[in-house]
Symmetry: C2
Amino acid sequence: MTEMAPRPTLEAVAARAGVSRATVSRVVNGAQGVRESLAARVRQAVEELGYVPNQAARSLVTRRHDAVAVVIAEPETRVFADPFFALQLRGISKELTAHDCQLVLLLTEGQGDHARVARYLAGNHVDGALVFSLHLDDPLPGLIRNAGVPTVFGGRPGWGEGGEGALYVDSDNRGGARTAVEHLVSLGRRRIAHITGALDQTSAVDRLEGFKDVLPDTDPALIEPGDFTPAGGERAMRALLDRCPDLDAVFAANDLSASGALRVLRERGLRVPEDVAVAGFDDMLPVAEQTDPPLTTVRQDIEHMGLLMARLLLRRLDRNGPEPDTEDGAPRSIVTPTTLVRRASA
Amino acid sequence: MTEMAPRPTLEAVAARAGVSRATVSRVVNGAQGVRESLAARVRQAVEELGYVPNQAARSLVTRRHDAVAVVIAEPETRVFADPFFALQLRGISKELTAHDCQLVLLLTEGQGDHARVARYLAGNHVDGALVFSLHLDDPLPGLIRNAGVPTVFGGRPGWGEGGEGALYVDSDNRGGARTAVEHLVSLGRRRIAHITGALDQTSAVDRLEGFKDVLPDTDPALIEPGDFTPAGGERAMRALLDRCPDLDAVFAANDLSASGALRVLRERGLRVPEDVAVAGFDDMLPVAEQTDPPLTTVRQDIEHMGLLMARLLLRRLDRNGPEPDTEDGAPRSIVTPTTLVRRASA
DNA sequence: TTGAAAGCGCTAACAT
DNA sequence: ATGTTAGCGCTTTCAA
């Protein structure tokens, strides 16, 4: 293509501006204590030469990388068959960008990749990591702890190993579930069923807990395990209907399983919400708005959660975090609020 | 936390193995011409010390980064309100990982970010870029060309500026559209309408072309612009029905607009597919399988497209690409096939 | 086949 | 306030 123009170095800028490399470095890095007239000359030279600092050289001496890894395990992206993934990433990206920090994406393909990720993180290539690990038995949190890289988790990590002090950002799954179930109760429903999510994920467990918070003495027959998929929702709905034909509401652990439940309800000739009220979780738009009837569900601010994760990590890395979120100044895990979105199904 | 253990350097490994730094470097980088006995000693020392090369130091001298940027403009991720985004990224990630290459994700937030991205790419921080730019007037391709970074586009780029020789991977939008429309024709439909996508995107333009390929003399009244959204699909369907009450099929530019069309059809008391057959595009699962009736649509292998993008770029960067895809050995753009998925709607 | 030595471009003491 | 200088950890001629 075009000849690889040799990129100008600090040296070149210094020569052009008639100052020393050190001075240029100071100007470029915004250090104080440089006479304005000189600084201006330097800035102009930078401009004219199109100088861009060599990050490798800088990292070599500062031992900083201005980059963080985002680790997403394969099972997660399957769950994120919706904007979840993109939105969270977007939130993360925004915050990182605002702090001149790059985002290195690490997607894992099953166990085999754990070692690779661990090696990468331990290899001191990034300043920190943002890890999505929502499975109870996920070995990743343990591995990462070993790698000794500052980390923030997306979703409360399972406590497979030492995840005890882990920093994380999670939505209020339990509270959200409570809100949904309370809503069903307020509608006068008395036989409220629950289709759970995949119970190896903390979100599913927490939503189940929320359900039980509101209905501690519920008939166990009204709780049927699902797996967050439409097919799982169908299966569970059938089982529930066969077992408890008198149920008058169902809270599904997510919108996808709710959509499956809805189909079975229609197929059995039951009206929603007249005969059975249905509530979901996630407010996954392409699903929740398209179902018939549209789904009443629990919404979380996904993008904001991503942003908070990044912010938390940046704070932990010192980087000019905003006002401290705790009195002793140490960052703490964050549980973000959810809101009920009323549509036609309940 | 734990004391930051000073990472072992090449020097340390050399000392431990009783050889010079140069030798260790050779072993670590798999260069030939090192006596096996020595190499073994070195490998053991590496093992014992848990040595991991310092990428910054390496890049400083090699001027390689073993990293590529993936640039996704904000409007895209909105369109990718489905697994598209995640899947493509996954395909990219797989291929890059297989070649020990990192993925730096750059998400842009409107025009303001273009400069930032251009600066980053020009800043020689990555070896190449994978860019999603599906808009006809997108300035990004031009900026990137200027940056002089080897690039492969996801989706045929608009020719806003010099994108002429650009390398890209795109699905066969035109051919896919043809397949869908031919299918409707084969069903005996004679008044086939088309709800277009957002015509500032190449995919929408190409799908429209495909439609016209099969029905070159179609009544212009049967073509109504949409915007890839369900709401746009509803609007367009209403307009079409008002204008051409006799239409007996509709090909929507994507599944989301098809779902909107489906709703309007039902609302008007028209049966699908008996009265009006409907076909979509994308096979966006959470949508296509959940509509009533399930959608006949055109599927593309998203993940594979991502993989091909990465492979193309890697080849262009020299990196051990697989067998050459053209006779002169120069990589060429790739158009991937689509397949019709028959469900109940047509 | 192996080692010695010269930087890669930058920052950060330290000196002025 | 500015310049001088010594590396950061690695690859890569060049000699041996």
